[in-house]
Each structure stands twice: as C-alpha cells, then as structure tokens.
Subunit: 351 residues, 2 copies
C-alpha cells in the first residue's frame, strides 16, 4: 500500500506538503497541488486510517450503542441504523455498532477510553441511564436517540410522543370517535425505564383529557395473545369503544385478530390506528393498517448530524429536535359507527 512518503517522493515534494495538500490546512500552490494529486492517483494512494487517527487524535468513527437484540430488532431500528450509517459515511465517518444494554455502562466506558470513537450515538435511552453518565464523565461527545427523565439540555433527537399521540387522538376525534383505548407497550418495558412507554401513555391521556374525553390505556405484552386479551379487558372496561390507538406492533395483530373473530368489522365497527410503527408493517395486516409511522430514517440522519456538530466544532450546531410520526393512510380507520365525521367537533364531553 502506498504511503504518503511515496506520494511525496513521486511528486518531488516533502511529506508535509502532501499532508497539507490533502487537508487544506495550509496553502499549497496550484502547480504543486496538481503534481501531488497526480502522484496520488497514479499510486492509488489512500491515507492510512490508523496513522491519521493516531496523529490527529480523531478516529473518524462514530459508535452506535444500540439495544443488544433480545427478540429481533424491529424495522424502525433497522431503518434508523441504516440511515445513521449512511449519513456518517457521507460525512467521511464510519459507524461502529456497540451492542450494549442499559446495564453495561462499564463496558461502554472501557471502549470509549480506547479512543476508538470520536462520538457516541445512544439508542433506546432509558429514563435513568448510566451510560449517559459514563459518557458525560468521559467527556466524549454524544447524542441520545430518546431522552432521559430530566429533559435537560443534553443533546438528543427523539420522537415527539406528545405530538404523535395528540395527532392520533385528533385524527380519531375528527372522525367522531369519543371512546378510544390505548394499547401500550408492556409493563416489562416500563420496568426497564423504557421512555416511550411513559411518554406515549402520558401523551395519550393528556390528549384525551384535553378534549374532555376519558382515556382508557393498558400496558400489553408484546405478543398476539396479549393483544387478544387486551381487547377483552379494554372492552370490558369501556364497552362503548369505537377505536384503538396501538403502540405495540405484535400485540396489534392480536387485537385485529380478536376483533375479527368477534365479528367486529374493521374499520366499520372499530377503528385501529397504529402509532410509532415500522415501515411496511401496516401493509401486513388485512385490512392494511392506518399508521403513524416512526421517523426512523430521519432520526438517524439528524442524530448523526447533531453528533457531528459536537464532534467537529467547525460544523454548525443543531438544536435538539422532536419529530412526530407521520400519518400513513391505510384502511383501518373510519368515522365512528353511527356518526358522520366532523359533525360536532364542539361537543367535548362524551354522551
């Protein structure tokens, strides 16, 4: 493999001049630059990543700490990772995968100290997450995908759960729904301090109350079986339900199956709005689900951009952002049974 020294010899200049030509740190005359570029092309020169990293103390590597797979990552995560990797690459950075769960803060610390990464992207932050503290202490730039409990000014990008749940409720209320249930993630995720479970629940309840409606919410295990059971539980708790908002893909399929088995037509008798959904999942149901799909790709891109602005002071800094999920029409939402849509947006309290 050709080294910079080889290029220098061939271009009849000193090693340092080649370096300056490459980095643009100091001016180089056009004639010299051209000779150097020719030499590089002829030799197929590519600067050695390790040497560059050692000398400059920047590895040009970003680490992505992602939830070590328990039960297969969903499409949203895949989309996120993919988009993050692509964005990193476009900016001359590499993305390495660090599969560490919330409890593995010490491992994160060790890896960070090895100086392999210039910055860290932290997925699936828990409300209280030791890994964040470790990164803070180590002084490594990082960006959270998600937010810890105290939404201080720690750098982050996240789904706007408040807005998303409000959009969901609004969408249904516009169609005349008054009795809406929320199928949340499981109690287990809550026990782990998984933030979306809390933020979406709070968001849903607030959105309902804000409209004078009574929220019905349930935490449901991630299984079709649990989804079926949830239908029973929720209908018992509020028989007048005309719509479900779900944030639990696997359980949603159970919900659909159970309703169909009970002879409840979707969307005529019951609307289903699946939120924070992976791409393509809506199509897998029959009828295709109306979804508010998670902006995984966008989060990946913005997360990396934010991180790069911290890593590399010369880039413009970006603010923390919250991105709402995007409505993707399907065929699982319709006006509330027996009501025309929009016929009384002013009648806040249920009959």
């Amino acid at each position: 493999m050709a080294t910079m020294q080889d290029v220098a010899r061939r271009a009849q200049v000193s090693l340092s001049t080649v370096s300056y030509a490459l980095s643009g740190t100091r001016p180089v005359s056009d004639a010299t630059r051209r000779r150097i570029e020719d030499a590089m092309a002829e030799l197929g020169f590519q600067p050695n990543a390790m040497a560059r990293g050692l000398a400059s103390r920047r590895s040009h590597v970003l680490a992505l700490i992602y939830p070590a797979m328990e039960k297969g990552l969903g499409g949203t995560v895949a989309e996120f990772v993919s988009s993050a990797a692509e964005t990193a690459r476009e900016n001359g950075y590499h993305l390495v995968l660090w599969p560490f769960r919330t409890t593995q803060a010490p491992e994160v610390r060790d890896l960070v100290r090895q100086g392999m990464a210039d910055g860290v992207l932290l997925m699936e932050v828990a409300l209280d997450d030791d890994r964040v503290d470790v990164l803070d202490e180590a002084g490594v730039p990082y960006t959270m995908i998600g937010r810890t409990r105290d939404v201080t000014d720690r750098p982050s990008v996240d789904i706007d759960f408040e807005r998303t749940t409000d959009d969901a409720v609004q969408h249904l209320v516009d169609l005349g729904h008054r009795y809406v249930a929320f199928v949340n993630h499981s109690q287990a995720t809550a026990d782990d301090g998984y933030a979306p479970t809390f933020r979406a629940e709070e968001g849903f309840e607030a959105a309902m109350r804000r409209r004078g409606l009574e929220p019905v919410a349930l935490r449901v295990d991630e299984s079709p079986r649990a989804g079926r059971d949830a239908v029973a539980t929720l209908l018992e708790r509020e028989p007048r339900l005309t719509a479900f908002v779900t944030m639990n893909e696997i359980a949603t399929f159970g919900v659909v199956a159970e309703l169909q088995q009970r002879g409840v037509a979707i969307p005529e008798d019951m609307s289903i709005l699946s939120i924070v959904t992976s791409p393509g999942v809506g199509e897998m149901s029959n009828p295709p689900l109306t979804t508010l799909h998670a902006p995984g790709a966008e989060l990946g891109r913005l997360g990396v951009q934010k991180l790069l602005s911290l890593v590399d002071g010369s880039r413009p800094s970006t603010p923390n952002v919250l991105i709402p999920c995007v409505l993707e029409p399907g065929s699982s939402v319709a006006p509330a049974a027996g009501r025309a849509p929009d016929d009384d947006d002013r009648e806040p309290v249920a009959r």
Copy 2:
C-alpha cells in the same frame, strides 16, 4: 487518558514490558505482571486503539457491507447484523457498517485501502458481484453471506436454499399435498442477480420434480397487491392447488388476504408455508403462519467466526457452511383437503 508510558512509570518497569504483559507475547514474571496490572487498574488504563492499530497493523475492526437500505431492511437482516456485531465484540473486534450496494465496488476498494478494517463481511452477494473481485484483489480477508454464481472455494456462509425448499416440499407432501405453488421474490431482484431468487426457485422445482410433481412457480413483486394477483395467476395456471410455498414476506400477506376474501379457508382448504422468513413475521398473520425461518442470527455468528479465522491465523479455520431454515410451526399448514396425511406417499403422480 493514561498511556502505557504512565503505567510503566507507575509499575517501575519499561514501556515494552507493559506491552508484553498485556499481549503475552513474551514471558513476564508474576511479580512484575502483578505490579503492572495494579498500575493499570489504578490508572484506569485502556490501550489506545489507534496507536495499537498503527503499530500492529491490525485495526481490530471488521466491516460489514450491507445492502444500502432501499425499502427498510427486514428482520432477518437486522437479526444478522445484530448477531454479527455481538460476535465481533465478544472476540475483541468492532463491527463497522458500510452501506454499499453491488455497484459500489470502487468505494469499497478505497475504504479497504485505508486499512480501517482487518476483514470484510459481505452481505447480499449477487451472482456476479464486483465487490468480491475488489476484495480478492486487495487481498483483504472476507467472507460472503450468500454465494456468487460459481460456488468455488471462496469463503462463505449461506442459507441452504436447496435443503430449505426441499424441506418445505417434503413437509407439504407428507401432508398429502400434490399441487404446490411457489411465490418467489420479484423479477426485479432476479434482474439484480439476487441469488436467493434463483437458488430457491431451482430448489423448489427440483424438489417437486424429484417427487414426480409438477412445480408451479411465479416471481412476484414485494407488495400485498402483487401477492393478491399472484393467487389469481397461480390458481388459473393450476386450479387444483392445495398449498403455497412463499418466499416473499410482503406478498405473502396479500396471498393470505386474497384467499380469505375468496372464501378459501386457511389451512383447511389451502396451506401456506412461508420460507426464509424473518422472526416474528409468522405471528403477524391470522392464522399465524407456519414458517421456515431464516437463520439470521446463526449466519451472523458463523460469518464473523469464519472471517476471524481468516483474519487471525491463530484461530481454527472453519469450513464454508450452508444452514437450512428452521421450521416454526404455525397454523397455516394442514393436510391436503380431502386426504388423510401420509395415506399414500407412494403415489407420486397426481390423479
């Protein structure tokens, strides 16, 4: 950050002794080793990855070239990536993501020349793939996930499509099915030289013929709509069908929906066996699909292990492997209508 020199000073030994203690390359007395270990612990020393990489010419990084997302990676890919990253980590390696499609061989070459990766894992190899040539030329160790056209002795791990399709056909034939259709990936994937499309198709047809049965196969776009249309096309071509083997997750949902709409009961009137399926996808259907699910995690692990054996001569070398998909029982497969299972395994040709 503490350096090796700091450790050496604190332990009252020379820099090189610390290095030897760490790597075990040369003997170090117990007493000295202990002093060094203590010093390292007290300083929280972690060897600098760049310096180590530069001096030893090994980055301890593996690159994973994966299909740059077009339409959201499936669960299998996610599972694979995750398992590869984890296996790499367990062996002291990092996994970086290189999103490059088949046509981006030059980019791959440049990155490889930068010496950032000790080895490369190549996903979704096409039948003819320039990236493989680039890696061959560069002399970088690599392992293919999948196989190029000529299954020479290039290092690879792959799904055993022949075995998987044969298992699928066998499973159905055991239940008395004689008229079985295959819903393949799209023509577009075939045009891209996507190997599974060919290998599964050939495998299915061979498996059928081997049993004296007439294969009916169709390449279907990855959409529910296309899946619905496929049902019409295939039933027209062979009205006596009692089973579908599908290798196209999205289309499968269309197949199921269309059959149900036509009043064809699953599995009583028609069996559906979904092969090379992502984890969890079976559960998303109603009834839950019987699947032969893709061994994504296993491929990831074995792929990394194979690659490491090439990168690091001291590890035992592993042979190329083909892994069949694993049967995951659901409720979409039943004995052929009007026949008891196994009542005439000897009657090869249909009535």
